[in-house]
Protein backbone atom coordinates (compact mmCIF):
# COMPACT_ATOMS: atom_id res chain seq x y z
CA UNK A 1 0.00 0.00 0.00
CA UNK A 2 1.34 3.42 -0.89
CA UNK A 3 0.87 5.99 1.82
CA UNK A 4 -0.33 9.36 0.70
CA UNK A 5 2.19 11.93 1.86
CA UNK A 6 0.53 15.31 1.92
CA UNK A 7 3.82 17.26 2.27
CA UNK A 8 5.42 15.66 -0.78
CA UNK A 9 2.29 16.07 -2.87
CA UNK A 10 2.02 19.74 -1.92
CA UNK A 11 5.66 20.33 -2.75
CA UNK A 12 5.24 18.64 -6.14
CA UNK A 13 2.17 20.73 -6.90
CA UNK A 14 3.88 23.99 -5.95
CA UNK A 15 6.96 23.08 -7.99
CA UNK A 16 4.78 22.25 -10.96
CA UNK A 17 2.87 25.53 -10.65
CA UNK A 18 6.12 27.51 -10.34
CA UNK A 19 7.60 25.82 -13.40
CA UNK A 20 4.42 26.49 -15.39
CA UNK A 21 4.44 30.09 -14.24
CA UNK A 22 8.05 30.49 -15.42
CA UNK A 23 7.81 28.51 -18.64
CA UNK A 24 4.33 29.61 -19.79
CA UNK A 25 5.29 33.04 -21.25
CA UNK A 26 8.26 31.47 -23.04
CA UNK A 27 6.04 28.75 -24.44
CA UNK A 28 3.46 31.32 -25.58
CA UNK A 29 6.18 33.35 -27.31
CA UNK A 30 7.43 30.30 -29.16
CA UNK A 31 3.90 29.22 -30.15
CA UNK A 32 3.04 32.70 -31.42
CA UNK A 33 6.31 32.79 -33.37
CA UNK A 34 5.37 29.74 -35.47
CA UNK A 35 1.65 30.50 -35.74
CA UNK A 36 0.55 31.76 -39.19
CA UNK A 37 -2.24 33.88 -37.64
CA UNK A 38 -0.98 37.01 -35.92
CA UNK A 39 -1.35 36.79 -32.15
CA UNK A 40 -4.41 34.58 -32.32
CA UNK A 41 -4.47 31.48 -30.19
CA UNK A 42 -4.92 28.57 -30.50
CA UNK A 43 -2.52 28.20 -33.44
CA UNK A 44 -3.92 26.99 -36.75
CA UNK A 45 -0.70 25.79 -38.40
CA UNK A 46 3.03 26.04 -38.51
CA UNK A 47 5.20 28.60 -40.29
CA UNK A 48 8.74 29.86 -40.18
CA UNK A 49 7.79 33.06 -42.07
CA UNK A 50 8.07 35.23 -38.96
CA UNK A 51 11.54 33.89 -38.28
CA UNK A 52 12.51 34.57 -41.89
CA UNK A 53 11.21 38.12 -41.59
CA UNK A 54 12.97 38.69 -38.28
CA UNK A 55 16.31 37.42 -39.53
CA UNK A 56 16.13 39.41 -42.76
CA UNK A 57 15.32 42.69 -41.03
CA UNK A 58 18.29 45.05 -41.40
CA UNK A 59 17.21 46.94 -38.26
CA UNK A 60 17.17 43.81 -36.12
CA UNK A 61 20.41 42.46 -37.52
CA UNK A 62 22.11 45.78 -36.88
CA UNK A 63 20.66 45.91 -33.35
CA UNK A 64 21.93 42.41 -32.77
CA UNK A 65 25.38 43.41 -34.00
CA UNK A 66 25.38 46.44 -31.71
CA UNK A 67 24.28 44.32 -28.74
CA UNK A 68 26.91 41.69 -29.54
CA UNK A 69 29.80 44.16 -29.78
CA UNK A 70 28.56 46.12 -26.78
CA UNK A 71 28.07 42.96 -24.70
CA UNK A 72 31.53 41.60 -25.50
CA UNK A 73 33.23 44.94 -24.86
CA UNK A 74 31.35 45.60 -21.62
CA UNK A 75 31.87 42.04 -20.35
CA UNK A 76 35.57 42.29 -21.14
CA UNK A 77 35.95 45.67 -19.44
CA UNK A 78 33.92 44.62 -16.40
CA UNK A 79 36.10 41.55 -15.88
CA UNK A 80 39.34 43.45 -16.41
CA UNK A 81 38.20 45.92 -13.74
CA UNK A 82 36.71 43.32 -11.38
CA UNK A 83 39.70 40.97 -11.33
CA UNK A 84 42.19 43.29 -9.56
CA UNK A 85 39.41 44.45 -7.23
CA UNK A 86 38.56 40.84 -6.37
CA UNK A 87 42.24 40.06 -5.78
CA UNK A 88 42.61 43.02 -3.44
CA UNK A 89 39.47 42.06 -1.51
CA UNK A 90 40.25 38.36 -1.22
CA UNK A 91 43.93 38.52 -0.37
CA UNK A 92 44.30 41.53 1.88
CA UNK A 93 42.88 42.97 5.01
CA UNK A 94 42.96 46.72 5.06
CA UNK A 95 41.03 49.51 6.73
CA UNK A 96 37.89 50.32 4.76
CA UNK A 97 37.72 46.90 3.08
CA UNK A 98 34.04 46.37 3.96
CA UNK A 99 33.17 49.89 2.78
CA UNK A 100 35.03 49.38 -0.50
CA UNK A 101 33.19 46.13 -1.05
CA UNK A 102 29.82 47.86 -0.56
CA UNK A 103 30.79 50.68 -2.93
CA UNK A 104 31.84 48.19 -5.60
CA UNK A 105 28.59 46.24 -5.19
CA UNK A 106 26.39 49.38 -5.03
CA UNK A 107 25.22 49.31 -8.68
CA UNK A 108 23.15 46.28 -7.61
CA UNK A 109 21.31 48.33 -5.01
CA UNK A 110 20.18 51.21 -7.22
CA UNK A 111 17.22 50.63 -9.56
CA UNK A 112 18.64 50.46 -13.09
CA UNK A 113 16.26 53.09 -14.49
CA UNK A 114 17.27 55.63 -11.86
CA UNK A 115 20.92 54.74 -12.29
CA UNK A 116 20.60 55.16 -16.09
CA UNK A 117 18.88 58.52 -15.75
CA UNK A 118 21.56 59.71 -13.32
CA UNK A 119 24.29 58.55 -15.67
CA UNK A 120 22.56 60.31 -18.60
CA UNK A 121 22.35 63.56 -16.64
CA UNK A 122 25.99 63.18 -15.65
CA UNK A 123 27.14 62.68 -19.23
CA UNK A 124 25.02 65.61 -20.42
CA UNK A 125 26.58 67.81 -17.73
CA UNK A 126 30.12 66.95 -18.78
CA UNK A 127 29.14 67.58 -22.39
CA UNK A 128 28.72 64.09 -23.84
CA UNK A 129 25.00 63.31 -23.68
CA UNK A 130 24.27 59.92 -25.13
CA UNK A 131 27.00 58.24 -27.10
CA UNK A 132 29.01 55.07 -27.54
CA UNK A 133 31.35 55.80 -24.63
CA UNK A 134 28.53 56.56 -22.14
CA UNK A 135 26.69 53.46 -23.35
CA UNK A 136 29.74 51.27 -22.78
CA UNK A 137 30.47 52.87 -19.42
CA UNK A 138 26.87 52.39 -18.31
CA UNK A 139 26.79 48.73 -19.27
CA UNK A 140 30.19 48.10 -17.65
CA UNK A 141 29.19 49.69 -14.34
CA UNK A 142 25.90 47.79 -14.36
CA UNK A 143 27.48 44.34 -14.81
CA UNK A 144 30.72 44.81 -12.86
CA UNK A 145 29.26 43.72 -9.47
CA UNK A 146 28.31 40.34 -10.97
CA UNK A 147 31.83 39.84 -12.31
CA UNK A 148 33.20 40.85 -8.92
CA UNK A 149 30.99 38.31 -7.12
CA UNK A 150 31.97 35.41 -9.36
CA UNK A 151 35.68 36.26 -9.46
CA UNK A 152 35.79 36.78 -5.69
CA UNK A 153 34.34 33.31 -5.23
CA UNK A 154 36.84 31.82 -7.70
CA UNK A 155 39.79 33.49 -6.00
CA UNK A 156 38.56 32.34 -2.58
CA UNK A 157 38.81 28.77 -3.84
CA UNK A 158 42.24 29.35 -5.39
CA UNK A 159 44.98 27.92 -3.22
CA UNK A 160 47.61 30.68 -2.78
CA UNK A 161 50.35 28.05 -2.86
CA UNK A 162 49.79 27.64 -6.65
CA UNK A 163 51.06 31.17 -7.11
CA UNK A 164 53.80 30.81 -4.53
CA UNK A 165 55.01 27.67 -6.29
CA UNK A 166 55.26 29.65 -9.53
CA UNK A 167 57.10 32.52 -7.87
CA UNK A 168 59.69 30.25 -6.25
CA UNK A 169 60.58 28.59 -9.58
CA UNK A 170 61.27 32.01 -11.03
CA UNK A 171 58.02 33.49 -12.38
CA UNK A 172 57.40 37.17 -11.66
CA UNK A 173 53.99 38.55 -10.66
CA UNK A 174 52.76 39.17 -14.23
CA UNK A 175 53.98 35.82 -15.52
CA UNK A 176 52.34 34.09 -12.56
CA UNK A 177 49.05 35.88 -13.25
CA UNK A 178 48.93 34.78 -16.88
CA UNK A 179 50.52 31.31 -16.60
CA UNK A 180 49.00 30.13 -13.32
CA UNK A 181 46.26 32.29 -11.79
CA UNK A 182 44.10 32.96 -14.86
CA UNK A 183 44.26 29.38 -16.24
CA UNK A 184 43.43 27.94 -12.82
CA UNK A 185 40.37 30.18 -12.36
CA UNK A 186 39.32 29.95 -16.02
CA UNK A 187 35.99 28.35 -15.13
CA UNK A 188 35.14 31.40 -13.04
CA UNK A 189 36.37 33.73 -15.77
CA UNK A 190 34.25 32.01 -18.44
CA UNK A 191 31.20 32.03 -16.17
CA UNK A 192 31.71 35.63 -15.23
CA UNK A 193 32.19 36.69 -18.86
CA UNK A 194 29.11 34.75 -19.99
CA UNK A 195 26.89 36.15 -17.24
CA UNK A 196 28.13 39.70 -17.88
CA UNK A 197 27.46 39.32 -21.58
CA UNK A 198 23.93 38.03 -21.00
CA UNK A 199 23.16 40.89 -18.59
CA UNK A 200 24.38 43.44 -21.09
CA UNK A 201 22.54 41.73 -23.94
CA UNK A 202 19.27 41.83 -21.96
CA UNK A 203 19.62 45.38 -20.69
CA UNK A 204 16.95 47.86 -21.71
CA UNK A 205 16.98 50.96 -19.44
CA UNK A 206 20.66 51.86 -19.78
CA UNK A 207 20.52 51.57 -23.56
CA UNK A 208 17.33 53.64 -23.80
CA UNK A 209 19.00 56.53 -22.02
CA UNK A 210 22.54 56.31 -23.36
CA UNK A 211 22.51 54.71 -26.83
CA UNK A 212 23.36 57.25 -29.56
CA UNK A 213 21.36 57.37 -32.82
CA UNK A 214 22.39 54.62 -35.20
CA UNK A 215 23.72 52.46 -32.36
CA UNK A 216 20.54 51.06 -30.89
CA UNK A 217 20.98 47.72 -29.12
CA UNK A 218 18.53 44.94 -29.90
CA UNK A 219 16.20 45.16 -26.84
CA UNK A 220 15.52 48.86 -27.54
CA UNK A 221 15.02 48.12 -31.25
CA UNK A 222 12.63 45.32 -30.36
CA UNK A 223 10.67 47.54 -27.99
CA UNK A 224 10.21 50.30 -30.54
CA UNK A 225 9.09 47.68 -33.08
CA UNK A 226 6.33 46.22 -30.90
CA UNK A 227 5.11 49.70 -30.02
CA UNK A 228 3.96 50.19 -33.59
CA UNK A 229 3.71 46.79 -35.28
CA UNK A 230 1.21 44.06 -34.53
CA UNK A 231 2.78 41.06 -36.22
CA UNK A 232 4.66 38.10 -34.80
CA UNK A 233 8.10 39.10 -36.12
CA UNK A 234 9.00 40.36 -32.64
CA UNK A 235 7.85 37.05 -31.16
CA UNK A 236 9.99 35.17 -33.69
CA UNK A 237 12.99 37.29 -32.77
CA UNK A 238 12.33 36.76 -29.07
CA UNK A 239 11.94 33.05 -29.80
CA UNK A 240 15.30 33.03 -31.57
CA UNK A 241 16.93 34.69 -28.57
CA UNK A 242 15.33 32.16 -26.22
CA UNK A 243 16.71 29.30 -28.30
CA UNK A 244 20.14 30.94 -28.46
CA UNK A 245 20.11 31.42 -24.68
CA UNK A 246 19.19 27.78 -24.20
CA UNK A 247 22.08 26.83 -26.47
CA UNK A 248 24.43 29.08 -24.49
CA UNK A 249 23.34 27.43 -21.24
CA UNK A 250 24.02 23.99 -22.68
CA UNK A 251 27.47 25.12 -23.83
CA UNK A 252 28.36 26.71 -20.47
CA UNK A 253 27.14 23.59 -18.72
CA UNK A 254 29.35 21.43 -20.91
CA UNK A 255 32.37 23.71 -20.49
CA UNK A 256 32.16 24.66 -16.86
CA UNK A 257 29.31 22.80 -15.23
CA UNK A 258 26.24 24.93 -14.70
CA UNK A 259 25.99 24.02 -11.05
CA UNK A 260 29.43 25.51 -10.40
CA UNK A 261 28.55 28.68 -12.30
CA UNK A 262 25.31 29.19 -10.39
CA UNK A 263 26.86 28.36 -7.04
CA UNK A 264 29.59 30.95 -7.46
Amino acid sequence: MIRFDFGTAALRLITLLMMTFLVFPIAVTLVVAVNPREFILPPNGFTLDWFRAAWSSKTFLRGMGVSLVLGIAAAFLANVLALPAAMALVRNNFPGKAALNIILMSPLLIPTTIFSLALYIYFVRIGYGSGLLPLLVGHTIHIMPYALRILTASLHNLDPSYEEAARIVGAGRIRTLFSITLPVIRTGLVSSFALCFILSWNDFPISVFLAPPGWTPLPVELFSYIKFQYDAVAAALAGSLILLSALAIVIIDRLAGLRRVLRS
Partner: protein, 361 residues
Protein backbone atom coordinates in the same frame (compact mmCIF):
# COMPACT_ATOMS: atom_id res chain seq x y z
CA UNK B 1 82.32 35.48 4.17
CA UNK B 2 80.63 32.42 5.47
CA UNK B 3 80.34 28.82 4.37
CA UNK B 4 76.77 28.59 5.51
CA UNK B 5 74.08 28.08 2.90
CA UNK B 6 71.37 29.76 4.97
CA UNK B 7 71.87 32.36 7.64
CA UNK B 8 68.87 33.54 9.63
CA UNK B 9 69.76 36.43 11.91
CA UNK B 10 67.43 38.00 14.43
CA UNK B 11 64.35 37.49 12.28
CA UNK B 12 61.06 38.81 13.67
CA UNK B 13 57.55 38.61 12.22
CA UNK B 14 54.71 40.48 13.84
CA UNK B 15 51.07 40.39 12.76
CA UNK B 16 49.53 43.38 14.51
CA UNK B 17 49.94 42.76 18.22
CA UNK B 18 50.91 39.10 17.92
CA UNK B 19 54.50 38.04 17.35
CA UNK B 20 54.63 34.91 15.22
CA UNK B 21 58.40 34.72 15.00
CA UNK B 22 60.46 36.32 17.74
CA UNK B 23 64.14 37.01 17.12
CA UNK B 24 65.01 33.70 15.47
CA UNK B 25 68.61 33.00 14.47
CA UNK B 26 70.25 29.86 13.10
CA UNK B 27 72.49 28.75 10.26
CA UNK B 28 72.37 25.84 7.85
CA UNK B 29 75.73 24.63 6.54
CA UNK B 30 76.34 23.61 2.92
CA UNK B 31 74.90 20.15 2.27
CA UNK B 32 73.34 19.98 5.70
CA UNK B 33 69.82 18.72 6.47
CA UNK B 34 68.23 20.86 9.15
CA UNK B 35 64.68 20.54 10.49
CA UNK B 36 62.54 23.15 12.12
CA UNK B 37 60.55 21.22 14.70
CA UNK B 38 57.82 22.44 17.00
CA UNK B 39 54.12 22.30 17.82
CA UNK B 40 51.63 23.97 15.50
CA UNK B 41 51.70 27.74 15.79
CA UNK B 42 55.32 27.83 16.96
CA UNK B 43 56.40 29.93 13.98
CA UNK B 44 58.33 27.25 12.10
CA UNK B 45 56.33 27.53 8.87
CA UNK B 46 56.37 31.34 9.03
CA UNK B 47 60.16 31.21 9.38
CA UNK B 48 60.44 28.94 6.33
CA UNK B 49 58.07 31.15 4.35
CA UNK B 50 60.17 34.19 5.19
CA UNK B 51 63.27 32.42 3.86
CA UNK B 52 61.34 31.59 0.68
CA UNK B 53 60.17 35.19 0.35
CA UNK B 54 56.43 34.53 0.71
CA UNK B 55 56.32 36.49 3.96
CA UNK B 56 58.14 39.74 4.58
CA UNK B 57 60.04 39.77 7.91
CA UNK B 58 59.33 42.65 10.30
CA UNK B 59 62.98 42.73 11.31
CA UNK B 60 66.17 40.75 10.88
CA UNK B 61 68.22 39.53 7.93
CA UNK B 62 68.21 36.45 5.71
CA UNK B 63 71.21 35.34 3.70
CA UNK B 64 71.36 32.49 1.19
CA UNK B 65 74.84 31.47 0.04
CA UNK B 66 76.16 34.71 1.44
CA UNK B 67 73.76 36.85 -0.54
CA UNK B 68 71.36 39.11 1.35
CA UNK B 69 67.90 37.99 0.22
CA UNK B 70 65.87 39.73 2.94
CA UNK B 71 64.07 42.01 0.50
CA UNK B 72 64.26 39.96 -2.70
CA UNK B 73 61.03 38.61 -4.21
CA UNK B 74 60.78 34.78 -4.19
CA UNK B 75 61.56 34.47 -7.91
CA UNK B 76 65.00 36.03 -7.37
CA UNK B 77 66.06 33.75 -4.51
CA UNK B 78 66.91 30.59 -6.48
CA UNK B 79 65.40 28.25 -3.93
CA UNK B 80 63.42 25.04 -4.21
CA UNK B 81 60.21 24.74 -2.20
CA UNK B 82 58.05 21.70 -1.60
CA UNK B 83 54.58 22.50 -0.27
CA UNK B 84 52.55 20.58 2.26
CA UNK B 85 49.63 20.33 -0.18
CA UNK B 86 51.98 19.71 -3.16
CA UNK B 87 50.65 22.80 -5.02
CA UNK B 88 50.93 21.15 -8.43
CA UNK B 89 49.36 23.35 -11.07
CA UNK B 90 46.14 21.52 -11.95
CA UNK B 91 46.02 22.71 -15.58
CA UNK B 92 49.49 21.40 -16.43
CA UNK B 93 50.73 17.85 -16.97
CA UNK B 94 53.44 16.34 -14.80
CA UNK B 95 56.06 17.24 -17.42
CA UNK B 96 54.77 20.80 -17.72
CA UNK B 97 54.80 21.20 -13.96
CA UNK B 98 58.39 20.02 -13.72
CA UNK B 99 59.52 21.96 -16.79
CA UNK B 100 57.84 25.30 -16.03
CA UNK B 101 60.83 26.79 -14.19
CA UNK B 102 63.21 25.66 -16.93
CA UNK B 103 60.98 27.19 -19.59
CA UNK B 104 61.10 30.49 -17.71
CA UNK B 105 64.90 30.27 -17.81
CA UNK B 106 64.70 29.96 -21.60
CA UNK B 107 66.52 26.63 -21.71
CA UNK B 108 66.51 24.71 -24.98
CA UNK B 109 63.71 22.27 -25.65
CA UNK B 110 66.00 19.23 -25.61
CA UNK B 111 67.61 20.37 -22.37
CA UNK B 112 64.20 20.80 -20.74
CA UNK B 113 63.02 17.39 -21.94
CA UNK B 114 66.15 15.68 -20.62
CA UNK B 115 65.98 17.51 -17.31
CA UNK B 116 62.31 16.58 -16.83
CA UNK B 117 63.10 12.93 -17.54
CA UNK B 118 66.07 13.03 -15.17
CA UNK B 119 64.13 14.64 -12.31
CA UNK B 120 61.22 12.26 -12.70
CA UNK B 121 63.53 9.24 -12.73
CA UNK B 122 65.24 10.47 -9.55
CA UNK B 123 61.87 10.64 -7.81
CA UNK B 124 60.71 7.34 -9.34
CA UNK B 125 58.00 8.71 -11.63
CA UNK B 126 59.34 7.98 -15.12
CA UNK B 127 56.50 7.38 -17.55
CA UNK B 128 54.07 9.71 -15.81
CA UNK B 129 55.01 12.76 -17.93
CA UNK B 130 51.61 13.21 -19.58
CA UNK B 131 49.40 12.66 -16.55
CA UNK B 132 47.52 15.48 -14.92
CA UNK B 133 48.04 16.03 -11.19
CA UNK B 134 44.47 14.94 -10.37
CA UNK B 135 45.19 11.53 -11.93
CA UNK B 136 47.94 10.85 -9.40
CA UNK B 137 47.85 9.60 -5.82
CA UNK B 138 49.01 11.80 -2.95
CA UNK B 139 52.40 10.13 -2.79
CA UNK B 140 52.91 10.48 -6.54
CA UNK B 141 51.90 14.14 -6.41
CA UNK B 142 54.47 14.75 -3.71
CA UNK B 143 57.12 13.08 -5.89
CA UNK B 144 56.20 15.41 -8.77
CA UNK B 145 56.44 18.38 -6.41
CA UNK B 146 59.90 17.21 -5.38
CA UNK B 147 60.93 16.65 -9.01
CA UNK B 148 59.71 20.17 -9.85
CA UNK B 149 61.97 21.60 -7.16
CA UNK B 150 64.98 19.40 -8.05
CA UNK B 151 64.77 20.11 -11.79
CA UNK B 152 66.10 23.62 -11.22
CA UNK B 153 69.05 22.38 -9.15
CA UNK B 154 68.33 24.94 -6.45
CA UNK B 155 71.07 25.98 -4.05
CA UNK B 156 68.80 25.21 -1.16
CA UNK B 157 65.69 23.08 -0.83
CA UNK B 158 62.94 24.20 1.55
CA UNK B 159 60.25 21.70 2.53
CA UNK B 160 57.08 22.53 4.44
CA UNK B 161 55.70 19.39 6.12
CA UNK B 162 55.92 17.54 2.80
CA UNK B 163 54.87 14.17 4.20
CA UNK B 164 52.11 15.19 6.58
CA UNK B 165 49.27 14.61 4.08
CA UNK B 166 50.33 11.03 3.36
CA UNK B 167 49.18 7.95 5.23
CA UNK B 168 51.52 6.51 7.79
CA UNK B 169 53.04 3.61 5.84
CA UNK B 170 53.75 5.79 2.82
CA UNK B 171 55.16 8.50 5.05
CA UNK B 172 57.77 6.12 6.43
CA UNK B 173 58.75 4.91 2.94
CA UNK B 174 58.96 8.43 1.56
CA UNK B 175 60.99 9.51 4.59
CA UNK B 176 63.62 6.86 3.87
CA UNK B 177 63.72 7.76 0.18
CA UNK B 178 64.07 11.42 1.03
CA UNK B 179 66.99 10.72 3.33
CA UNK B 180 68.73 8.59 0.68
CA UNK B 181 68.12 11.20 -2.01
CA UNK B 182 69.40 14.03 0.14
CA UNK B 183 72.52 12.08 1.08
CA UNK B 184 73.15 11.25 -2.58
CA UNK B 185 72.60 14.76 -3.93
CA UNK B 186 74.12 16.54 -0.90
CA UNK B 187 71.42 19.15 -1.26
CA UNK B 188 71.21 21.71 1.52
CA UNK B 189 67.75 21.17 2.97
CA UNK B 190 65.64 23.02 5.50
CA UNK B 191 62.67 20.92 6.51
CA UNK B 192 59.66 21.96 8.57
CA UNK B 193 57.77 19.34 10.53
CA UNK B 194 55.79 18.81 13.71
CA UNK B 195 56.67 15.11 13.69
CA UNK B 196 59.67 14.52 15.96
CA UNK B 197 60.31 11.08 14.46
CA UNK B 198 60.77 12.70 11.03
CA UNK B 199 62.96 15.46 12.38
CA UNK B 200 65.19 13.17 14.42
CA UNK B 201 65.62 10.51 11.73
CA UNK B 202 66.22 12.86 8.77
CA UNK B 203 68.26 15.71 10.15
CA UNK B 204 71.87 16.50 10.82
CA UNK B 205 70.64 19.17 13.18
CA UNK B 206 67.24 20.19 14.50
CA UNK B 207 66.00 23.66 15.41
CA UNK B 208 63.34 23.32 18.10
CA UNK B 209 60.88 26.20 18.14
CA UNK B 210 58.20 27.16 20.63
CA UNK B 211 56.00 30.26 20.72
CA UNK B 212 58.02 31.95 18.01
CA UNK B 213 61.38 31.42 19.68
CA UNK B 214 64.24 28.99 19.16
CA UNK B 215 64.50 26.68 22.16
CA UNK B 216 67.55 24.74 21.04
CA UNK B 217 69.62 24.02 17.94
CA UNK B 218 71.38 20.70 18.15
CA UNK B 219 71.98 17.31 16.59
CA UNK B 220 69.16 14.81 17.25
CA UNK B 221 71.32 12.91 19.74
CA UNK B 222 72.09 16.07 21.70
CA UNK B 223 68.43 17.10 21.78
CA UNK B 224 67.45 13.85 23.34
CA UNK B 225 70.39 13.44 25.68
CA UNK B 226 70.97 17.07 26.59
CA UNK B 227 67.81 19.09 26.16
CA UNK B 228 68.48 22.76 26.95
CA UNK B 229 65.01 23.52 28.28
CA UNK B 230 62.15 21.57 29.77
CA UNK B 231 60.14 22.31 26.62
CA UNK B 232 62.70 20.47 24.49
CA UNK B 233 62.89 17.63 26.99
CA UNK B 234 59.12 17.31 26.98
CA UNK B 235 58.66 17.71 23.23
CA UNK B 236 61.36 15.25 22.20
CA UNK B 237 60.56 11.86 23.64
CA UNK B 238 58.96 11.16 26.99
CA UNK B 239 60.49 12.62 30.11
CA UNK B 240 59.99 12.66 33.85
CA UNK B 241 60.42 15.98 35.60
CA UNK B 242 61.17 16.12 39.32
CA UNK B 243 61.13 19.60 40.82
CA UNK B 244 63.58 20.77 43.43
CA UNK B 245 66.40 23.17 44.12
CA UNK B 246 69.98 23.03 42.98
CA UNK B 247 72.70 22.13 45.45
CA UNK B 248 76.44 21.89 44.98
CA UNK B 249 77.64 18.37 45.68
CA UNK B 250 81.33 17.67 46.43
CA UNK B 251 82.94 20.22 44.17
CA UNK B 252 82.46 19.52 40.43
CA UNK B 253 79.15 17.74 40.19
CA UNK B 254 75.67 19.10 40.80
CA UNK B 255 72.76 17.87 42.77
CA UNK B 256 69.06 18.48 43.12
CA UNK B 257 67.22 18.52 46.43
CA UNK B 258 63.76 17.11 45.85
CA UNK B 259 60.69 18.22 47.82
CA UNK B 260 61.08 15.16 50.02
CA UNK B 261 64.51 16.44 51.06
CA UNK B 262 66.36 13.68 49.24
CA UNK B 263 69.34 14.80 47.16
CA UNK B 264 69.99 13.25 43.73
CA UNK B 265 73.42 13.61 42.14
CA UNK B 266 73.87 14.55 38.51
CA UNK B 267 76.78 15.19 36.15
CA UNK B 268 76.96 18.94 35.64
CA UNK B 269 76.38 19.97 32.04
CA UNK B 270 75.09 23.46 32.43
CA UNK B 271 76.00 25.91 35.16
CA UNK B 272 73.21 26.31 37.69
CA UNK B 273 73.49 28.52 40.78
CA UNK B 274 73.03 26.52 43.99
CA UNK B 275 69.65 27.27 45.52
CA UNK B 276 67.96 27.99 42.18
CA UNK B 277 64.66 26.28 41.37
CA UNK B 278 65.45 23.47 38.94
CA UNK B 279 63.98 20.38 37.37
CA UNK B 280 65.64 17.03 37.37
CA UNK B 281 65.00 15.25 34.10
CA UNK B 282 64.91 11.48 33.92
CA UNK B 283 64.15 9.50 30.75
CA UNK B 284 61.82 6.55 31.51
CA UNK B 285 64.10 4.03 29.78
CA UNK B 286 67.20 5.14 31.72
CA UNK B 287 66.17 3.86 35.12
CA UNK B 288 66.44 0.46 36.73
CA UNK B 289 63.55 -0.80 38.79
CA UNK B 290 63.58 -3.58 41.37
CA UNK B 291 61.24 -4.95 43.98
CA UNK B 292 64.12 -5.59 46.39
CA UNK B 293 65.24 -2.79 48.68
CA UNK B 294 68.41 -1.09 47.39
CA UNK B 295 70.66 1.22 49.36
CA UNK B 296 72.93 3.90 48.03
CA UNK B 297 73.13 6.96 45.89
CA UNK B 298 70.28 8.13 43.61
CA UNK B 299 67.75 5.56 44.73
CA UNK B 300 64.11 6.55 44.87
CA UNK B 301 61.44 4.42 46.43
CA UNK B 302 57.76 4.33 45.65
CA UNK B 303 54.71 2.28 44.78
CA UNK B 304 53.59 1.12 41.35
CA UNK B 305 50.22 2.71 40.58
CA UNK B 306 49.94 1.48 37.00
CA UNK B 307 51.78 -1.33 35.28
CA UNK B 308 51.39 -1.99 31.56
CA UNK B 309 52.63 -5.07 29.73
CA UNK B 310 53.67 -4.51 26.10
CA UNK B 311 55.61 -7.72 25.49
CA UNK B 312 59.07 -6.40 24.70
CA UNK B 313 58.77 -3.50 27.09
CA UNK B 314 57.08 -3.01 30.41
CA UNK B 315 55.83 0.41 31.46
CA UNK B 316 55.20 1.50 34.99
CA UNK B 317 53.89 4.60 36.66
CA UNK B 318 55.35 4.86 40.14
CA UNK B 319 54.22 7.21 42.91
CA UNK B 320 57.43 8.17 44.70
CA UNK B 321 57.49 8.55 48.46
CA UNK B 322 57.84 12.30 47.86
CA UNK B 323 54.50 12.28 45.98
CA UNK B 324 55.76 12.75 42.41
CA UNK B 325 54.75 10.37 39.65
CA UNK B 326 57.64 8.79 37.73
CA UNK B 327 57.24 6.82 34.55
CA UNK B 328 59.64 3.95 33.96
CA UNK B 329 60.10 1.79 30.90
CA UNK B 330 62.10 -1.40 31.26
CA UNK B 331 62.92 -4.22 28.88
CA UNK B 332 61.30 -7.52 29.59
CA UNK B 333 64.22 -9.23 31.35
CA UNK B 334 62.79 -9.38 34.82
CA UNK B 335 59.49 -10.38 36.25
CA UNK B 336 56.47 -8.24 35.56
CA UNK B 337 55.72 -6.06 38.57
CA UNK B 338 52.06 -5.85 39.49
CA UNK B 339 50.24 -2.66 40.39
CA UNK B 340 50.56 -1.87 44.09
CA UNK B 341 54.04 -3.32 44.54
CA UNK B 342 56.70 -1.40 46.44
CA UNK B 343 59.67 -0.67 44.16
CA UNK B 344 63.11 0.93 44.24
CA UNK B 345 64.34 2.97 41.31
CA UNK B 346 67.99 3.76 40.53
CA UNK B 347 69.12 6.59 38.29
CA UNK B 348 72.80 6.92 37.39
CA UNK B 349 74.12 10.48 37.81
CA UNK B 350 75.06 10.64 34.10
CA UNK B 351 71.44 9.89 33.18
CA UNK B 352 70.08 12.73 35.22
CA UNK B 353 69.94 16.23 33.73
CA UNK B 354 69.34 19.37 35.68
CA UNK B 355 67.70 22.26 33.88
CA UNK B 356 66.55 25.62 35.22
CA UNK B 357 62.81 26.06 35.62
CA UNK B 358 61.18 28.07 32.88
CA UNK B 359 60.32 31.69 33.58
CA UNK B 360 62.67 31.93 36.56
CA UNK B 361 65.89 32.55 34.69
Amino acid sequence: MSDDAIQVSGVVKRYGATTAVDNVSFNVAQGEFVSLLGPSGCGKTTTLRMIAGFVEPTAGALRVNDRDVTHLPPEKRELGFVFQNYALWPHMTVAENVGFGLKLRRKSRTFIREKIAESLSVTGLSGYEDRLPRQLSGGQQQRVALARALALEPQVLLMDEPLSNLDRALRVTMRRELKELQARMKMTTLYVTHDQEEALSLSNRVVIMNKGRVEQVAAPYELYENPATSFVADFVGITNFLEGSAVGVDGGSMGVRLRSGQVLRAVAKTAVTPGAEVRALIRPERVTLTTKPVDGENVLSGQVILSEYFGAVLRYSVRLDGGEILRAEVHNFDNFVETGAKVWICVLPEHLRIIPQEGQG
